[in-house]
């Protein structure tokens, strides 16, 4: 049985060589099901992101906002992170009311109006 670190390294190698990312994802999922390691998917993805950032300088972030982000907003968000290449995945969630919630592999920045209002209600700053 391979360790999580070895598995992450192997996935990283495959990602470098493979062109069919969907096929690769299916293979990885099958392997995790076979090894009964589906509970570790989150940890594996975080380690993979960390490995990519360290080796290639690539950082994937997810920005969730109530409205579509403008180019200026995206630039402002990317400026928060220090990486060669930042890949931003955008999601829209009207329940946030406004602002943005950004998640990187080891960091989360929450500037959503919903969270601010929630903090106001609970008395937290």
């Amino acid at each position: 049985m391979t360790s999580r670190k070895e598995l992450v390294a192997a996935i990283y190698q495959l990602m470098q060589t493979s062109t069919d990312s969907k096929h690769l994802a299916q293979h990885i999922a099958a392997h995790l099901l076979d090894q009964r390691g589906t509970k570790e998917v989150g940890a594996i993805l975080r380690e993979l992101e960390s490995l990519r950032l360290n080796r290639d300088g690539v950082l994937e972030i997810t920005a969730t906002s109530a409205h579509a982000l403008s180019a200026e907003s995206k630039a402002a968000i990317k400026a928060l992170f220090d990486a060669k290449q930042i890949i931003m995945h955008e999601q829209q969630d009207p329940s946030l009311l406004g602002g943005v919630k950004v998640r990187a592999h080891d960091r989360q920045v929450d500037y959503s109006v919903r969270t601010r209002l929630q903090r106001l209600k609970t008395g937290a700053n």
Binding site: H67, A68, L69, A76, L80, G98, G99, V113, L117, L120
Partner: protein
């Protein structure tokens, strides 16, 4: 023959002799009805009787009388002594009573003083307790006020948040939202 018997005989002979003399001559003293021999005999008898009494009985009588006198004197002295003792005893009793009264007065005064102190102490304790209760009540009231203030503040904040949410839902469009995001990140970088 005893002395008494001898005296009686002499007395009897003298009387008889006197009778004979009186019968023979009734002149001089006899003419007055007095017989000098009889008088002499009676005087001798008296003196003899006196001597006998003095010799054999008077000493004992005097001794008995002195003894009785001494007994009476002793009794009188004892009575006087007892009276003196009684007086002393009464004085002593009076003295003891006086002392007892003084002691009782002292005890009463002490008891009164102690009772006063106990009452004073109880009053002070009660006063302290009341002060403590008032202080506790103040603390509780302050705590209740703080809780009420916080609850009110929370309610107000909640209402403000809900009102803000409603307003933002209506007023915050895409452009304003992006401006908001840019301003927030600009503040973060600064």
């Amino acid at each position: 023959m005893s002395v008494l018997h001898f005296v009686q005989i002499i007395g009897s002979e003298a009387a008889t002799g006197a009778g004979h003399a009186a019968a023979e001559e009734s002149t001089g003293i006899a003419a007055l009805g007095l017989d000098p021999l009889a008088i002499l005999a009676q005087a001798g008898t008296f003196l003899l009787l006196f001597w006998i009494v003095k010799k054999f009985a008077l000493g004992k009588i005097v001794q008995t009388l002195e003894k009785r006198h001494k007994t009476i004197d002793d009794g009188v002295r004892l009575g006087q002594k007892m009276e003196a003792e009684q007086a002393k005893l009464e004085e002593k009793v009076e003295d003891e009573l006086r002392k007892a009264r003084t002691e009782a007065d002292k005890i009463l005064a002490q008891a009164s003083r102690e009772a006063g102190e106990v009452v004073k102490s109880a009053e002070e304790k009660a006063s302290e307790k009341v002060d403590q209760m008032i202080a506790d009540a103040h603390v509780r009231i302050e705590e209740d006020m703080q809780r009420a203030r916080k609850a009110l503040e929370k309610d107000v904040l909640s209402m403000v948040a809900e009102a803000t949410e409603i307003i933002l839902e209506e007023k915050l469009d895409e452009k304003k939202d992006n401006n908001l995001i840019q301003r927030a990140f600009a503040r973060l970088r600064a």
